[in-house]
Every structure is written in C-alpha cells, then in structure tokens.
Symmetry: C2
C-alpha cells in the first residue's frame, strides 16, 4: 500500500482544508475505501514570503527535512498545500524520491482555455517569485497582479486566516475582489491556500475563482485512485 | 521539537475534524506559533466495531503498525480520534513508547459533577466493549445506552458520515436525540468521532452534548502547549 505524503502546516488550517478536500473528493462508502495519508504538519518552517521578500530566514532546509520525513515513511507521492513554498519547487523535486505535485502548474491548467486575463491572489513573496505569472504567460493568458493598494488586503486576508480570524479575512478578501471586478477582471486564482478559507464566507464573489488547494486535491486523488491506493489488495 | 502523533483515518473525516479542532484551539497569530503534528491517516485499518461484534478481522496488528510508524518518527504524544479503537487501549498503551491519551477517560472527565444519567452514543462495538459505561459508573453516573430501536439510528449516522452524507447523518442523529430527550435524558456523550460532524448540522439539539473529539483535542493542545511544543527554541 502506498501512502500519500502531505507536507503541510503552511499554514495549519490550510492543511486541514486540503485534507478535507482530499477526503470529500474520494468516492467511498466506508473507511476502508478511503485513501491513506501521512501528513507532516510542520508550522515552524520559516515564513516563505518573508524569505523571498525581506531576506528572512531560509525555509529550504526545513522544507527538505519535511520531504525527508515523508520519504523515510515510503510515501508514493507528495503534495504541498502551500503555494509560496513552490518558489523552491525545483530543489524540492530534485531532493525527493517520491514525485512531488506542482500546485501552480495544476492550478493554471484548470483555467479555461477561453480566459484572456486572470488575477493572481497570492503572498507578496509568491508574486515576486513570479512562477504563477510565468505559468499563465505560457498559456498566453495575461496575469493581473494586485496593485499596491490591493495587495495589502490580500496579505491581511492570508495573515488573518493563519491567526484563525476568518471573518476579518473574508472582509478583506471581498474588498479586493470587488476592486478587481470594477477593473473588469472576471477571473482570479486563489494562489495561496489560506484564501479559500476566507472565500468560503463570501456568499456571492463578484468574479470567478479558481482554488489552487482544490485543484491540488483533485490531482492528488486522481493520481492515487488511478493506482488503486484506495483499495489495497 | 516534539511532534504530536495522531493515529487517524478511523474515519478520515473525523480525523480532519479532530485536526481542525486542535488547530483552532491553539492560540497563534502566525504559522510558527502552531503545533507540529504527524498524522497517520490509515483508513484501511479493519473495522473496529465489526471485530468486537461480529468476529470480524482483528484491527490490532494494523493499529500497532500505525503506532510504530508514529513512534519511529519520534512523536512525543499520541492521540487516536476513534473511540472504538480504545477497546484495545491497554495493548496500544503497552506497545507505544510515546504516551497515548485515552479519549474515553478524557470525555467522561468532562461530564459535569452534577450529572446523574448520561447517554452514550457510540458504535455497537464500543457499547458491547463497555469502556464508556465503566468510566461513567466509576463517577457514579448512570450510563444510558440506546435500545434496539435507537441504536440503528446511531449506527446509520456513523456510517453516513464515513460515506460523506452529512445531511442524512444529521437526520438520523436528530431522531435519536429526540427519542432520548422524550425519555427524560438531558445529556449525551458523542462517544464516536463521526457523530460531532452530524451534530454540527443540528441547529438546536434537544439535550446537552459532550464531544469526545473536542475533549481529546483540548487535552492534546493542553499537553503540548504546557511543554512548549508550539514555541520551539
């Protein structure tokens, strides 16, 4: 039996939300038809966005230690429900024995082919890193990044989810989404796994949202169920 | 840094719910103030209730294999958010290097000292095992177990949560709670970790409910925070 490894804790509520999606996406009528998971919820990994933006402590050694822990336990696949950590995706992939899904590639692949302009809601670090903008540009889609008025709202939303204040997070997110809609943007990527927890509290978002965490969960479940990890012999 | 080990997957949604409670009970303003967790979500462990009731396959070897996995990764504490698995608590505790919290002792300790009669909502296996009834009796509290009309409603509720149908689960649970209230019972233990997921969908339960999963989460967070596992040096 192969285990799905999840490198999480970045942040913890986003990891819980990702696991919830994996479980609910798995067709099962009893426990024994569900997928086995090994979840390393390691919240003390240094802040990814600060490391990219502000010369903060390097999280890569702790990220690789988490990858090592999962591989020592013979996981067959690794998913990392943190977008900003994918700034180091090449190093992580090269280091891991098990394959590692790439949340940004998977999220951008979920954008409909008719889309021409798509906003990227992410940490400041992920935006400076630029991997989402590059993945969109490869599909000839124009990435729209929040301006200096809007990005603090997104950053506040993310921080508030990490501290457990989902109502404040939803208020900040809704203001940012309204600003985007007023600029004529019709679709946004929730390219940070905290954001969907805030979006759940917005009754009618003013533009279409694509959830990186949900897309990663879909890819994870598909990979594992195709290999029969839900029904071991 | 010590990790909290969680032996889960029994069932998977109950494990996600337990993790959610642990995260939300932890006072933290950023990721790095949260608790590190290693979650072995192993849904293929044989059905606990069937093993107790119907001579089904023995889950103990798989339970101990999960305990071994957690101990190999140097967890400092183990929590098992499955009540029925506590039928084998003595064997698990004797086998584990890390201490293992006992969900039934913790849940029964949360019953107010004024309580005289308390219902036990659990799998048929846990009821036949009798560890909840014994823990209540030790506190001079009369355990009320569902009769043969009511227990199938509780069992259906549990099975429906495991298959993801929370609305059906809530309907069956609410019928059982109403029957208990009509019999004059004023308090019930949700002594199966699936049941709180159904109870969340009942707007006004007709009697007081004590949530074994929430009490285990409180004890887990208290144990770890007292030892500073949320703020490693």
């Amino acid at each position: 039996m192969a285990l799905i490894g999840i490198l999480g804790g970045m942040g913890p509520l986003a990891t819980v939300d990702f696991m919830d999606k994996v479980v609910r996406l798995t067709e099962a009528s009893r426990d024994q038809e569900h997928l086995p998971l090994l979840v390393a919820n390691l919240p003390h990994i240094e802040d990814r966005s600060s490391a990219i933006l502000d010369d903060g402590a390097d999280p890569l050694p702790a990220l690789l230690a988490g990858i090592d822990m999962l591989n020592r336990n013979s996981v067959g696949l690794i998913a990392i429900p943190c977008n900003s950590a994918h700034h180091w995706y090449a190093q992580i992939r090269a280091h891991s024995a098990a394959p590692v899904l790439n949340i940004a590639e998977i999220c951008v692949a979920a954008v409909p082919s008719t889309a021409r302009r798509v906003a990227v809601l992410a940490t400041g670090g992920a935006l400076v890193s630029g991997f989402y903008q590059r993945a969109l540009a490869e599909r000839d889609i124009e990435p729209v990044t929040p301006d200096e008025t809007m990005q603090p709202l997104v950053a506040d939303c993310i921080d508030e989810v990490k501290s457990g204040d989902l109502d404040a997070a939803a208020t900040h997110l809704e203001t940012a989404l309204t600003m985007l809609a007023e600029e004529g943007v019709t679709m946004a990527l929730m390219a940070c796994t905290e954001i969907p927890l805030a979006a759940q509290r917005i009754a009618a978002p003013p533009l279409a949202l694509i959830d990186s965490s949900l897309e990663l969960a879909r890819a994870t479940v598909k990979y594992a169920c195709e290999r029969g990890w839900n029904r071991p012999q």
